[in-house]
Amino acid sequence: MSVLVVAEHIRGELRPVTLELVSAAKELGGPVAVAVIARDPAALVDAVNVDGVDEIVCVPVEQEEFENDVYQHAVETLVAERSPRLILLGFTVNSMGYAPALAAKLGLGFASDVFAVRDDGGELVAERAFYGAKVNGEVDFPGHEQVLLLLRATAWPPAEGAGSATVSEASVGAAASRARHKDWVEVVAGDVDITSADFLLSVGRGIGDKENLEQFQELAEAMGATLSVSRPLVDAGWMPGARQVGQSGKTVKPKVYLALGISGAVQHLAGMKTSGTIIAVNTDPEAAIFNVAHYGAVADLFEVAEELEKLY
């Protein structure tokens, strides 16, 4: 089936999810066209010309960086001209700003955070999670000839190998941009770099109170670990963003990741699931973290922490 992939790039760099989308598109048979919407799309052609891509569509626009009206207009124009059966985008913050709008406007079939897709006798079936990832659902799109899916990052391997795509150009005209990029702000670098640690002790909402943090800082020190945290602790202002593991924080790959009281939200798992050895302690036996952990214990994290303190 014909698939249109929309490349994502930020500050001149192709985002890795783009090549994962190519893998997903390839699985469905193709032909696969990748749209590069940028001020200078030619600069990204080499990066997306991987095995499995049949055509690269350069879409020059005035804006250097992502703006949702610009992308929406460009993709809408491509969909009208090319009538792809399936449009694939990453389930990313940029996509969240325009993909659902496009689906609403054009009446497309739509689902997001999709981690598996199959062609069931001409009918598309997408798989995604519900209810805190404790349940999966198969979703279909009756009556829709065109479907737009946002795919979960890291759910497919990146497409590799030199490609031999044809390169074309599409002119889409200018769009009135009502939400304009002005500037970048980098996350404040902290006193530690959690991405370079061999051993992370990571704590989450399960620790309950801010007062309890100190105990885990001391435990991490005693164990020779670096302390990292999940998002809720950063939201609450208990820890700086530099210590956050997950999609909106850092992606880490230590030799050992010891998670205490982290249930394992999808965004958190995306940032640590490739760690060498994952050990998880949680009171909820159904916690999603146990699906990626190598070792797990259904136990009270404070009791385990207390016992660990005795051992170090």
């Binding site: 960086e65 949702n68 969240m96 519900f130 009502r178 304009r180 164990m223 797990g296």
Partner: protein, 252 residues
């Protein structure tokens, strides 16, 4: 200043799960309901903007059945002024585009200066209703906002991208913004405010034509456990000893 805030009553699963007879959803008896966490941040942000402006109104809207009024009452107890609930049976388990169509009718009638939604709901995690709503209202929008300042005809926002990078964007108003957790500290409602919220008005409406659904759930199921974790048994002391052994072996 009139601000519309979209809220959702979300369901959370405990340790056990059963499905409805058609297997298209979880049996509601196995769900605990509460206001969506992201929506409490959106509500708080709206209240702050209203109070800073000195006058105005925060209108809470939801697409939900009568039980969903619990979520609205929570937002009203935080300080929102009134609510509008839209519901028909077609909206049960509906996709986010369909939900946005139902909400759009209600929001349009309010002619708001600003519409705030949570980034996503914890039970469906589509992160789509806000942007779809913006399209249906023909309004500018920004997703995943962690900072918001209004001045003149624009909103200056921080959009939190992956990896912690922040895009500072200027959005024409009125607009629709989806609010990320951590943007503020949602207030707790006092007992008195909870009582008073019972008296606040919630108007109930039926949606017009919702069009064709954008998706349909074929079936839900418990995901097969992968290789799964090797579970460490025993008391906390034994668990701690095993953890120490594993760490020593794997960091060596």
């Amino acid at each position: 200043m009139k601000i519309v805030v979209c809220v959702k009553q979300v369901g959370a699963l405990g340790d056990e799960v059963e499905f409805t007879d058609d297997e298209r959803d979880v049996d509601p008896d196995y769900l605990d309901y509460a206001i969506n966490e992201w929506d409490t941040y959106a509500t708080e942000e709206a209240l702050r903007l209203r109070d800073a402006a000195g006058d105005g109104e925060v209108v809470v809207i939801t697409a939900g059945d009568e039980d969903a009024e619990d979520a609205m009452r929570r937002a009203l107890a935080m300080g929102a002024d009134r609510g509008v609930r839209v519901w028909s049976d077609e909206l049960a388990g509906a996709d986010p585009i369909t939900v946005a169509r139902a909400l759009a009718e209600v929001a349009r009638a309010e002619s708001p200066d600003l519409v705030l939604c949570g980034v996503q709901s914890s039970d469906a995690v589509q992160a789509a209703t806000g942007a779809a709503l913006a399209e249906l209202l023909d309004l500018p929008r920004a997703a995943v906002v962690t900072k918001l300042e209004l001045s003149g005809g624009t909103a200056t926002v921080h959009r939190e991208l992956e990896g912690g990078l922040v895009d500072v964007a200027e959005v024409d108003t009125p607009c629709v913004l989806t609010i990320q957790t951590g943007i503020n500290e949602p207030r707790y409602a006092t007992l008195r405010a909870i009582k008073q919220a019972e008296e606040k008005e919630i108007e109930v409406r039926e949606p017009g034509d919702l069009g064709a659904p954008a998706a349909r759930v074929r079936r839900m199921f418990v995901p097969p456990k992968g290789e799964g974790a090797e579970m460490l048994d025993g008391d906390a002391g034994e668990v701690a000893r095993r953890i120490k052994e594993i760490i020593e072996e794997r960091t060596a």
